[in-house]
Symmetry: C2
Subunit: 195 residues, 2 copies
Amino acid sequence: MGGPEIDRLISLFAKLPGLGPRSGRRAVLKLLQHPETRMLPLAQALAAAARAVRHCTQCGNLDSTDPCAICADPQRDRTQICVVESVGDLWALERAGVHHGLYHVLGGTLSALGGTGPDDLNIAPLLARVAAAEATEIILALSATVDGAATSHFLTDRLAVSGIRITRVAQGVPIGGALDVLDEGTLATALRARS
Amino acid sequence: MGGPEIDRLISLFAKLPGLGPRSGRRAVLKLLQHPETRMLPLAQALAAAARAVRHCTQCGNLDSTDPCAICADPQRDRTQICVVESVGDLWALERAGVHHGLYHVLGGTLSALGGTGPDDLNIAPLLARVAAAEATEIILALSATVDGAATSHFLTDRLAVSGIRITRVAQGVPIGGALDVLDEGTLATALRARS
């Protein structure tokens, strides 16, 4: 349409989650109309984030510092570690503002069909954290899916030997639902009613 | 959530048309998971396009060459100039592949309420093109709105002195469109222009 630069940009935008060719074109057109005030700042913000952001070696969160701001925060309750599947789930819980402890990001769930085993997830570092740190409770906040439940069972089994208290967020998370699309109220209720 | 770099990136994405805070977060998370293969290429494509892309001084299209690829194409029919409001409209007509002539992008419509007068639009260059070039037909492809109609009238009036043939795209029922969801104005126009 407008040369290889524009075509390439549209195809990159169209691949983002939630966008397609049509919304990709709209976004690119809007940016092209403001090259100095919107397009270059976005390019610079992307490059800066790609350089600066990494996974926290303690919990797996994404941040420009390592350990991440949550792990480094002296105000957070170090006795509680909330186990989530993804950084998106961690962000959703932080927006709800109900968990004041630490996190541990697994990077997914066990999946027999998807071929994801314990070694593919961030599980060994979790066991090491539980053994080494002052945590007294592990809160499992995994999706209410078959794979999420299997992962919760697996972790409960592995953590049982440590004698640590293991809780799960209450059912109230809709069956088949992913955490990061839930409203804050549901998340707050589910976390408070953990068992 | 994950430091100032991530917050800034999410806020820039959330401002794009069709996206909001939620879809902005999803897009940024996806990019952060692939910093080398998706995030840096997008940053580079944005910077390259911001540097290279400009408005064609002949027609107002956006392209990395000036004149744009359409104006420079010897295969295009130089006797027809299709007048559109925006580059997005030009792209839509190009995707339809039905216009084989040149274009002229106005950059909007006249608007009494919005305070857009003839001098705010790319109109003087259009009159100059008509006077200088080999065009024999001006096709007005403006929105079927009050402002679009007013702009069409204004241009028809201004171009009449040149004696050039002036046509407008037909108004009516869109292909695949149901009659009962159309507004009365469209229905009345479609019925009057029956053939």
